[in-house]
């Protein structure tokens, strides 16, 4: 018996001296990164997929979570990979992309991949932030936006909390402000991937992230036929290939 949702456990796949840290999104679980992780491990990378605090347990736990807890969870993964790897590429989906970028702004990483990552508030309800202290007294969970999956078979076995914790929305608002403040300090090579079919985070976010990051070596890749969870939706193989090709480009050439 585990406290963690079966199938949503964090994972570690040992491999070579190139490490990939995979960070899932808000209310998501490590499962949404696991298949990308398996792909990268299959290509020889050492892969670690963290579980962010209060995720993949009980959604009530999210009411106690603060965004700095999630930064610390992501940093944990970076430290766990240090001994096994000479270089680490951090990558995340949605809020996991925010965390990856914050890590890249603060720590020595070789590259960063932001998938479906927001730059500003993806949900108009986040504008209620100034009222949060009052609202969270009686409003604990909110409905999520409509699902935008293009591959319904994957949607059926996706794991996440069914509701969005209101307190968590506050933290999302605040971590977005931190992201906008820190993006110019991201100077490592960067890959941004976004789907034009993403109904949760609009594509303008991807353009804004690329525009505001300090990196000289940065690339924006669009996919067409996927929803928000590009790591699992219909074009996942293309996403995996783009990420792997980016990782390969950061490894010292053996020639």
């Amino acid at each position: 018996m585990s406290l963690i949702m079966p199938g949503a456990e964090p994972f570690y796949f040992p491999g070579g001296r190139t490490g990939c840290l995979l960070i899932h999104g808000f209310t998501g679980t490590p499962k949404e990164m696991r298949f990308l992780g398996e792909h990268l491990a299959g290509a020889g990378c050492t892969v670690l997929g963290v579980r962010l605090f209060a995720h993949a347990t009980r959604q009530e736990d999210m009411l106690r979570a603060r965004w700095r807890d999630w930064v610390a969870s992501a940093e944990d993964g970076l430290h766990l990979l240090r001994e096994a790897c000479d270089r680490v590429i951090v990558m995340g989906l949605s809020m996991g992309g925010i965390l990856a970028l914050l890590l890249a702004a603060e720590h020595a990483v070789s590259g960063v991949v932001a998938l479906s990552t927001p730059y500003d508030s993806p949900d108009p309800r986040l504008r209620l932030r100034p009222l949060a202290a009052f609202l969270t007294l009686f409003w604990r969970f909110a409905r999520k936006g409509p699902p935008d999956w293009h591959d319904p078979t994957v949607a059926a076995d996706h794991l996440e909390y069914p509701l969005a914790p209101v307190r968590g929305g506050v933290e999302l608002y605040d971590i977005l402000a931190e992201l906008r403040r820190r993006l110019p300090s991201v100077t490592c090579p960067a890959l941004v991937i976004h789907s034009r079919g993403d109904l949760t985070v609009r594509g303008s976010s991807a353009e804004a992230i690329v525009a505001h990051m300090g990196s000289g070596d940065k690339k924006l890749v669009w996919v067409e036929n996927s929803g928000h969870v590009v790591t699992r939706d219909a074009e996942r193989e293309r996403v995996f290939a783009e990420v792997l090709s980016f990782v390969r480009g950061l490894e010292p050439s053996t020639a």
């Binding site: 018996m1 585990s2 406290l3 963690i4 456990e9 964090p10 994972f11 570690y12 796949f13 040992p14 670690l48 963290v50 579980r51 605090f53 209060a54 347990t57 736990d61 106690r64 603060r66 700095r68 807890d69 930064v71 610390a72 940093e75 944990d76 430290h79 766990l80 990979l81 001994e83 096994a84 914050l102 702004a105 603060e106 720590h107 931190e178 820190r182």
Partner: protein, 250 residues
């Protein structure tokens, strides 16, 4: 913005198919078990020391912690090791020992090393007073360290205060452990300092008695206080842990 205290980071030392999950104690950090992890890795094990939630960041983070959060942090480490190892041993100090028994009662664990593990709440009379004052007092400074190796005490990465509301969570974890001990079917090595002034050695006997009959052993460690893997007799603790893991793995 880096949020984890320098030196208090979690660690993963890659090695062979025997995994060692090392769990630190309340208000401490992975630093408490890092050298033990190094030692076990030098014997060929893969060693992983997770950071329990709310530790090695800000003491205020522990005000939001529930003991199930700490158990979930331990589960995280277990799951990461599970993918690489044929067998996973769980070692813990104090609260970490409590969590180790929780894991062993629920998951496939090859063996447990419980160091300075409490069976009842620590016998510090101030703690009882604090429990009563919890609604008013959020933090209380720790007393001066009483270590046999004062130099090691200085290198410690730990909070200097007890977040008072979290003490009740520690107690809940201990009480819940008691009812689970009977489900621990793997080999167990208990270690306790004869001079432990924080969790008296009688706690070791109580845990031993509550465990089912089987492969279980007690080892009393002289010349050490509570923090066994850092204090003066740490080498003896390291060797005993490595011997136990070697013997059970054969």
């Amino acid at each position: 913005m880096t949020s984890i205290a320098p030196g208090g980071e979690p660690f993963l030392f890659p090695g062979g198919r025997t995994g060692c999950l090392l769990l630190h104690g309340f208000t401490a950090s992975p630093q408490e078990v890092r050298e033990l992890g190094r030692h076990l890795a030098s014997h060929g094990a893969t060693a992983l020391g997770p950071r329990l939630f709310g530790h090695a960041t800000q003491p205020g983070d522990l005000l939001r912690a529930r003991w199930a959060d700490w158990l979930a942090s331990a589960f995280d480490g277990y799951h990461m090791l599970r993918g690489v190892c044929d067998r996973v041993f769980v070692l813990g100090v104090s609260l970490g020992g409590v969590l180790a028994f929780h894991l062993a009662a629920r998951l496939d664990v090859a063996g447990v090393v419980g160091m300075a593990t409490p069976f009842g709440p620590p016998k510090d009379p101030r703690l009882l007073l604090l429990r009563l004052a919890a609604p008013l007092v959020r933090f209380v400074p720790k007393g001066p360290p009483d270590w046999r190796d004062p130099a090691a005490a200085k290198t410690r990465v730990a909070y200097r205060v007890y977040p008072v509301p979290a003490l009740a969570e520690v107690e809940s974890a201990i009480l819940a452990m008691r009812s689970h001990l009977v489900n621990v079917s793997c080999p167990v090595l208990l270690m306790h300092a004869t001079e432990d002034t924080f969790v008296p050695p009688a706690n070791m006997q109580a845990i031993y008695d509550a465990l089912p009959a089987g492969d279980k052993a007690m080892l009393s460690i002289p010349h050490s206080n509570h923090v066994l893997p850092l204090d003066a007799s740490r080498s003896q603790v390291f060797e005993a842990a490595a011997d136990f893991i070697g013997r059970v793995s054969r």
